[in-house]
Amino acid sequence: MGPTFRASMNWLHTWSGVVLGSLLFAIFWMGTLSVFDKEIDRWMMPASRLALPPDFSYETMRPAYLAALAAKSPSVLLLVPNQRNPVITALWRGPDGSFAQHLFDPGTGAELPDQGTLGGSRFIYPFHYSLNLKVLGLGYWVVGLCGMMMMVLCVSGVVIHRKIFVDFFTFRPERKIRRATLDLHNVAGVLGLPFHVVISVSGLVILFSLYFPSSIWAVYRQDARLFGREAYGSYVRPPAKRAADLISLDAIVAKAKSVWGQGEPNYLYVFNPGDSASYVQLNRASADVVSNISYVAYVDGTTGELLSASRPEKPAALTQRFIAGLHFIQFEHWTLRWLYFVLGLAGCVLIATGLLFWVESRRDRHRRLGRSGARVVEAVTVASVTGILIATLAFMVTNRALPAGASVLGVERGAIEVSVFHLAWLLTLLHAWASTGRAWIGQCWMISGLASLAVLLNAVTTGDHLIKTIATPQLWSVAGVDATLLIAAFIAIRVALRLARGARPDAASLQGADQR
């Protein structure tokens, strides 16, 4: 692939980057947004912008449990409300076998009306790790390969940069756009390197048993299902087929807390509901620890006895949980949460500038030789960078423009939002192809317009305008989303103006180059 190690790494970096850059950008963008998936949920589900009751009783979750029981679901997952997600979220299987999510008021326990959206936690977040491609679990494998290649890009990127220390301080925005692009690529890459490496490794390690199951198969052979029990102490028992009521949920939580001491559970997972062999799995919320599973307890649903309790104590399992926790960021730390967000954006900048550099350094040559490579990659790059931003904003604008119960041609709003996302994304690609060279400017204007429109629509449809949301602590999640949208709109305007100013002399110099 090249005469020297560095030359072959240069080749590998260039080509894996240009082939996978678009997908990597989508994964990084959606992952960055997922840092605030719950806040986006609040923004897209106005009825869930609730205050957490100061003295929450776990019995408030009983109506949610009873609703699942009435639906004859074999199990029900009840998420405990918290500051970021101040609603009782219940997930159970409907009669048709599909999983459905229902929200309940944390104060009264009453079911909230269907919010008619997948929101941040069921569209944006799963897009991040599966591209929402469910066929044969294909999405997981594509994302997994991208994660591996991100590590390959990090390693090869370091190898080909001799002047890693100098790149720390080198940014020449006033120079030619190609030089500035490379500088920005280097700054984002070098400063963000630890983050990019850790976030790629940890993302893969979360799904270790999916991506590298061979070691489990080898040592367990036919009893591979014992792995979960031995590694994490999972507990299973079949229903007894005798009806029985679930005892007080407060008593069940108290039992679990008697084992792990301080700390509330983040969920109650009721298995065999309504059966005398019902049992509840509880996990201690990882508010104050990195690991996303810190302590699991199983409590008998009819007797209230402790069935099993375990915490990952074995070194490898503990390491896996810690690394996964680094990626899940379920700990309560606002500074770190924002840092993840900013570093995620730095990753987006890194990928986008890498793609741009590829285009910028080939555009003239390809045009002279009549080759379409640079033009194709540029159009795809525009659609994957500004395009996915536009698609995301269109998704959010649709949510605020249509009422929750709206349906068009029998399609409900939740599905319409997703269709609008895909349609808008496709249109940005067509636009990028049609207006080569000026597509960035047009799409930046589009971003600023849609972001401002989203903020306006939120204020009009819910009455929660920015001044009110900033003054009300329970609406800070909405304030955060609105403020971020406005900042995005502002930056997009600046970029559009700057590009428009630079576009003309740049075009002239290109023509000059062509004549020579």
């Binding site: 692939m1 790494m9 390969l145 390959v152 070691s215 080898a218 792995f227």
Partner: protein
């Protein structure tokens, strides 16, 4: 072009199969020799898989002779599979 595709396939698919076979053998050896708990050996092997795979991909693109990449990957896979199927799994 054909050579590039062959190298890419070898690195990505061959590398994945080779790594999978190798970590399976590694986990079995860890259980058999130092008596590591089997859930621990499986988890550790799996996690090491990502690092080994990374190294294999990088090396597959850096090694000038494609034949050598194919022979090494084939050899390690065969040897690892032999260990996996000849060594008896130990119940812990």
């Amino acid at each position: 072009m054909t050579k590039t595709l062959a190298r890419t396939a070898l690195a990505i698919l061959g590398g994945y199969l080779g790594t999978s076979a190798f970590i399976a053998a590694l986990a079995m050896i860890a259980v058999a020799t130092v008596g590591m708990e089997r859930s621990e050996a499986a988890t550790l092997g799996s996690m090491l898989g990502f690092l080994i795979y990374l190294g294999v991909i990088i090396w597959s693109f850096a090694e000038p002779a494609l034949v050598r990449v194919a022979l090494w990957l084939g050899g390690v896979t065969a040897l690892s599979l032999a260990v996996v199927f000849l060594l008896r799994p130990v119940a812990s």
